[in-house]
Amino acid sequence: MTSDNTSAGQSSNRKVVVWALGIVVGMFGFGFALVPLYEVFCQVTGLNGKTGGRYEVSTTVQVDESRQIRVQFLTNTNENMPWQFKPLVREIKVHPGEQMKVEFYAKNTTGEMMVAQAVPSISPSEGAEFFHKTECFCFNQQILQPGEDINMPLIFLVDKDLPEGLHTLTLSYTLFDVTERTTKTKS
């Protein structure tokens, strides 16, 4: 044990430990940084079918009368979610740039108050960034008393920059039971 006990050896060891731990801490942080990076990446590219948040309509939006886009609505309930959940209109034709309002129906079929959260997804994912929601029930959570039902609005428009090759967009909502999650955070 000669060379590593000298002060020169120890200080160079300390240097290695310091920068190696720097890498370790940095990479631990990077693991968490992947979460927002992934969100941003998906939002920018529209990959994964993720749609953006609330869209502000400028008053000068022009309607592209030359083509029509078919928009289909799908609803699913997540496992263990007993609510009835369905679109009132299954399919609608819109011109790009034209604002439309459709409604979805939900009913709490259980005997207890429940909170639900709908999560949207667009298919094909190339169209996700061109589908704008100006008003959506998915921006909020739905609280329904036992047996209560509700018609929930969605106001949307399809961007007139939608690629020419796309003629049909499918908007799918999955309804999750978040009762436990919300009551836990409140209490």
Partner: protein
């Protein structure tokens, strides 16, 4: 080992302490290396027993021996224990024993941390294994622990699993830092980086991979912990998270991890093949560069594990081509080993047999990997036994055969005795046959569509599964022979010379056999 230590007393040095405290408080790289190796062998037997439970259940169609829930726990724990408990600690043990002797250092650079990084491991695995006896059972979500199986639907013991992973991560990171500090600071005068033995090179690169990705693993299990206990939703779509994100973060760790388990094996093969070919390693610099390129590429190929998850076309293409690119540096290595043997004066002692089998069988595993890398066909192979065949071909004859090869190659240096060559060869041939019987038929049932991680299967897979199960029991029992050979070698045998093998080169062969408790207290000169 302890019997011979007394002979090396002199004025400056003392032998090891007596009794149990020697092992608890030791900071000696050889003691710690031995403990790592024994620990990994025990884990190898435990993980292997779990594999035998799996193979016993799959011996014929229908449910025979275990319930499906326990079957899932077995597949999960088998994977976790083999990866984190057997293969990784075995390589750290080899690094502890060999890196200081190969670079002419007296010990590891940070001996106290070395003690700590070993002694965390038994606690980590006690924590993990204890979950088998808990209510709800052990983790049952596969060793890749995909969310939401490992979060929303996990058994309560998942928290023990998470802390176990944290602890083994800390252990690996400390071990890796130690290896880096030793290699960078304690090389003997004259040993430049490009004169280092390839085992040292591959471990240096592996250590960098470890400190880069083990923290990411720690991060992903921390996110799971927060999702489970603190109401966050990293991986829960209901709260705005995304289960696919889990797979991205996990495989960002996971792909470099598979190279962590194979790069030191490349190093071992690159030490052994030249010795028994009695030639210098062909293309040393290209070996170093190939290893480094594999390590760099490993960071940009992770999503090839996720072709079936719904990646966009651009992503599928990128990850497909990037993955295939890895075949180039890997091919360089394989050709270099073959060229080293070409026109050499070959002899086939046990380490060489394991090393040659490593080259051949690892290449087979590499080729099935190339098949899996092709995104369009991966949709057929995904989650079938073809994948199981692939990664067992790179891990068992890859990582584990190289560990056996290393053990036979350096055992005479460690113990001072030659092992029993006839028994060693028997161990090799039985392992070789057992391994191929176990894993080769899995290619066929996989291509025919048998899904992995399922305790029951359709009738048409019965014959191949029976062969697999018989091979697995042959392979498993054979490993007890290895235990016997090692014990016999420790207790006695033909006295080994310092050089041990006729063609061996390197600083460790300049030391007497067995290597004295303290070696290279005066650094040797390397020309």
């Amino acid at each position: 080992m302890s019997a011979v230590v007394g002979e090396h007393h002199d004025d400056h040095h003392h032998g090891p302490a007596k009794g149990l405290t020697r092992w608890i408080f030791t900071t000696n790289h050889k003691d710690i290396g031995s403990m790592y190796l024994w620990f990994s062998f025990i884990m190898f037997l435990i993980g292997g027993s779990m594999a035998l439970v799996i193979r016993a259940e799959l011996f014929e169609p229908g449910m025979q021996i275990v319930v499906p829930g326990f079957f899932n726990q077995m597949t999960t724990m088998h994977g976790l224990i083999m990866v984190f408990g057997a293969v990784m600690p075995a390589f750290v043990g080899l690094a502890n024993w060999l890196v200081p002797m190969m670079v002419g250092a007296p010990d590891m650079a940070l001996p106290r941390m070395n003690n700590w990084s070993f002694w965390i491991l038994p606690f980590a695995f006690t924590l993990l294994l204890s979950s088998l006896f808990m209510e709800g059972g052990a983790p049952n979500f596969g060793w890749t622990f995909y969310a939401p199986l490992s979060t929303t639907y996990a058994p309560p013991s998942v928290t023990f699993f998470i802390f176990g992973v944290h602890m083994m991560g800390i252990s690996s990171i400390m071990g890796a830092i130690n290896v880096i500090a030793t290699i960078l600071n304690l090389r003997a005068p004259g040993m430049t980086l490009m004169k280092m033995p390839l085992f040292v090179w591959t471990w240096l690169i592996t250590a960098f991979l470890l400190i880069a990705v083990m923290p990411v693993l720690a991060g992903v299990v921390t996110m799971m912990l927060m999702d489970i206990h603190f109401g966050t939703s990293f991986f829960s779509a209901a709260g705005g998270g995304d289960p696919v994100l889990f797979q991205h973060v996990f495989w960002f760790f996971g792909h470099p991890e598979v190279y962590i388990m194979i790069l030191p094996a490349f190093g071992v093969a690159s030490q052994i093949i030249p010795t028994f070919s009695r030639k210098k390693l062909f293309g040393y610099p290209s070996m170093v560069y190939a290893t480094a390129s594999i390590a760099v590429l490993s960071f940009i190929v992770w999503a090839h594990h996720m072709f079936a998850v719904g990646l966009p076309l651009a992503g599928e293409l990128f990850f497909m081509y990037a993955t295939m690119l890895i075949a180039v540096p890997t091919g360089v290595k394989v050709f270099n080993w073959v060229s080293t043997m070409f026109r050499g004066s070959l002899t086939f002692e046990t380490p060489m047999l394991f090393a040659i089998a490593f080259v051949i069988l690892f290449t087979i595993g590499g080729f099935s990997g190339l098949m899996l890398a092709i995104a369009p066909v991966d949709f057929q192979y995904h989650d079938t036994y073809f994948v199981v065949a692939h990664f067992h071909y790179v891990l068992v004859p890859g990582a584990i055969f190289s560990i056996f090869a290393a053990a036979y190659y350096w055992l005479p240096k460690w113990t001072g005795h030659m092992y029993d060559e006839a028994l060693g060869k028997a161990h090799f041939w039985l392992s070789f046959i057992g391994l191929n019987m176990t894993f080769f038929p899995m290619h066929f049932v996989g291509l025919a569509g048998m899904p992995r991680r399922i305790p029951d299967y359709a009738m048409q897979f019965a014959d191949f599964n029976r062969i697999s199960s018989m091979g697995a029991f042959l392979f498993g029992v054979t490993q007890l022979l290895f235990l016997f050979i090692v014990l016999k070698c420790i207790r006695g045998g033909k006295q080994a010379t310092a050089q041990v093998w006729e063609g061996a080169e390197g600083l460790e062969w300049t030391l007497p056999s067995p290597a004295p408790y303290h070696s290279f207290t005066e650094p040797p000169q390397v020309k």
